[in-house]
Symmetry: C2
Subunit: 459 residues, 2 copies
């Protein structure tokens, strides 16, 4: 049942946007579809915005009628961020997909929020520059900012919070703000850039981003090494970071995931813990880094470290990682998986992964483990057949224990996916009274709770 | 005139803190003294806190009587941050000076806010770790966080916002919050860590910091190179950064500053623009970086690049930079200087520095220029005799034009010093309606305006 207020707002929006407002069930369904087990909650309408002015107009109209607005990128978020638990209007930002400027001398670019990370990198390729943040999906940069996304490169290049200089956003009152200048650093007032990054569309709608760029490295070395235990692999990771080796990627696959990759991709890796590393730099510097890593790893494993700077050979070595998701899914044909996302201090990583592995076995579920271990962040992918209620119940319990385990170890229930609807209970457990401060900010900036209501803090 | 409310609050605090509350004029004077031309505005009392609980108690009492509280570190801020324009209580955090934990495996440390950067680095020395942020003064880490400080290392290691994982803070209602876990990254809710960093004591009082540490580099190379023009030097900087050379420090002295250093330190540097660079890494990597920089600089200057990894030789090469402040002050014996602090996109840096140099000459003031040019941040130090009202008026006009010039070029009026009282007018010019969002947050979290009132936004 659409509320009368929402209906009025949609009628007014319809007059303004015509064909660019849709109430078709399939369109509404698509805009609440997320890669999650959380049930879809459809918006009442979807509006396709083409400009900041249009976003501001949508917000102003919705503000007047207290109509919820849910910003939508490509829908690859994992915690129900694009659901519409209170109905309202999904605002699709995909048409705002222009790279507005590339400032090569300043190593930054100004982009609209619908630009995807792959589109930006394609645009940049002939300039010798790239944008490093790479969550698995080809997500929109606006969505990546809203969830404070990261991915495999974060150990070297940081997360979205480290790679955005300034934002333009439409706030709940319809006003457009700019959160920073184009200067690389500033001490001018509150850091609204970082406040909006990770706010999951609840404080403002991001309409433009100034992102940092990096030079494409002269040479990339990739390598792999097997370890007799998770602990041995984690110790190699800790030592590597303590030595200050500027590793660009450092990924862990546990034995179950390696087994899955062997089966799926026809590899013959030892079915033990696998570390995959990547180094960026000049030819001599990546050689030095690789050799240093080889020495470090030799203290923790009898297996040798294989590495190469040849792009094709490198792709072969990293094949297990590239195919990891599909290899995992192939463990249960017809099954679905959900991705967990804890992050702990690296000193607790081995313990956390080991305990999680034991929990998986005790619970009797299928759940390979893949980790961005340089950051202490790892994902399990527990799987079940869609109608297997018993296993889904087990998975729910497992996920809850995992979040609590990470929090108890001084970590977080979410390293890069966000809270959305799925982790609301853990936000309070993890952050305590800080959540009240967040809610006070939310109320101050959006007193009628029209921006992505029901996320982060619950109803 | 102390207001009756403030008097009551102080009486209650006196009962609790006894000798640790002072109303002596000299103590009050010391706590409003800042390195600035802004006149001192004394608090009514100074209380010396020893613990988070005591800070919370002070805030709760002051909250009840609407008594302003001004957090005080070592008083090295430059924009009147520690002044008490509405009276109230200065809360001195210096006794909270413990390093609570060093987590070597996680490369972080938990410290109280009164720990200075030098004290932390002394504490860390035998562990092979260091904390990189180095504003000129031996500031307290709490104060550095509050002003979002940076310094010469920021081009490589970032600013305070990049080097803090979590904070504990007492909010205006006396509640103690923790803004993050010990995990390296998180997507759990609003980034209150970054909101407090740079909030200048107006949103909460920082009582504990979890800071990132870095391994002391195996080798440090330092070098200098003269350039025929500011533009030539800036072009060398831009090229260096585009090449992805991970330069650790990159400082510029303009010809006037070099002249001052020659006189003061008995050097014979060419009286032209000077770049000083530093590289951190393994021996072979700093050699490679130095050689690459030498090649780059040779395209922009006939002078050769001199560099060394020998610590004593390095100190000699960098002597001009180390003595820059005192060399500058020696240009006007008995004079005082104030430091300006603009930061612009690096593509506009040469133009901004050149225009500023012309303005200095046209205005007829003494003002050497020193810059953290890898970040596009530079300082001028206009000087005058204390009672030379005419020159101070000129300096005021010059500073205003400089801030406006930076903002017009897409930059900021403050790269690292903060807004305080001195730059309030520019915050609005630079950030526009975003300031209203900041004020809404301030009102939501401190509705009676007791935390460092009169800063950032004015009365």
């Amino acid at each position: 049942m659409t509320s009368p207020n929402i209906e009025t707002a949609i009628n007014i929006l319809k007059q303004r946007f015509g064909d660019r407002l849709s109430m078709a069930a399939s369109v509404r369904q698509h805009h609440s579809h997320t890669t999650t087990q959380i049930s879809s909650e459809l918006p009442d309408a979807v509006v396709f915005a083409h400009s900041t002015e249009e976003v501001a107009a949508v917000v102003s109209i919705c503000q007047e009628y207290t109509c919820p607005i849910i910003p939508f990128g490509i829908g690859s978020s994992l915690e129900g961020h694009v659901n519409a638990p209170k109905g309202g209007v999904s605002i699709d930002m995909n048409a705002m997909d222009k790279v507005l400027a590339v400032h090569e001398e300043d190593l930054n670019a100004v982009v609209q929020p619908g630009v995807t990370r792959e589109a930006l990198n394609t645009h940049l390729r002939d300039k010798g520059l790239f944008f490093p943040i790479d969550p698995g999906a080809n997500a929109s940069l606006g969505g990546m900012a809203a969830t404070r996304a990261s991915g495999t490169n974060a150990v070297r290049y940081g997360t979205m919070k480290d790679n955005i200089i300034a934002l333009e956003a439409v706030m709940a009152d319809g006003k457009v703000i700019r959160t920073g200048s184009r200067a690389k650093k500033s001490s001018a007032g509150y850091d609204l850039t970082r406040l909006l990054i990770g706010s999951e569309g609840t404080l403002g709608i991001i309409t433009e981003l100034t992102v940092k760029l990096h030079g494409i490295p002269e040479t990339i070395a990739g390598g792999i090494c097997s370890f007799p235990s998770i602990e041995a692999a984690c110790n190699a990771v800790i030592t590597t970071i303590q030595y200050g080796i500027p590793v660009a990627r450092m990924e862990l696959l546990d034995a179950v995931q390696v087994q899955a990759c062997n089966q799926y991709s026809g590899l013959d890796l030892p079915e033990e813990t696998l570390l995959l590393v990547e180094f960026h730099g000049t030819e001599s510097s990546v050689r030095e880094q690789s050799e240093m890593f080889g020495e470090i790893s030799s203290e923790y494993t009898p297996h040798s470290f294989q590495w190469t700077t040849d792009p094709e050979e490198r792709a072969k070595l990293w094949k297990a990682r590239h195919d990891a998701f599909w290899a995992a899914m192939a463990l249960l044909p017809g099954g679905q998986g959900i991705s967990t996302d804890v992050c702990v201090p690296i000193s607790r990583l081995a313990e956390c992964v080991e305990e999680t592995r034991r929990d998986i076995e005790a619970t009797g579920i299928i759940a390979p483990i893949v980790g961005h271990v340089g950051d202490g962040n790892f994902h399990t992918l527990p799987m079940a057949l869609p109608d297997d209620a018993e296993t889904w119940a087990k998975i729910k319990g497992f996920s809850e224990r995992l979040s609590e385990r990470a929090i108890t170890m001084g970590g977080t229930c979410t390293g890069e996916h966000g809270i959305g609807q799925g982790k609301i209970a853990y936000l309070r457990k993890e952050m305590g009274p800080a959540v009240d401060v967040m809610i006070a900010i939310k109320k101050a900036l959006d007193h009628d709770d029209i921006l992505n209501p029901g996320k982060l803090f619950g109803a």
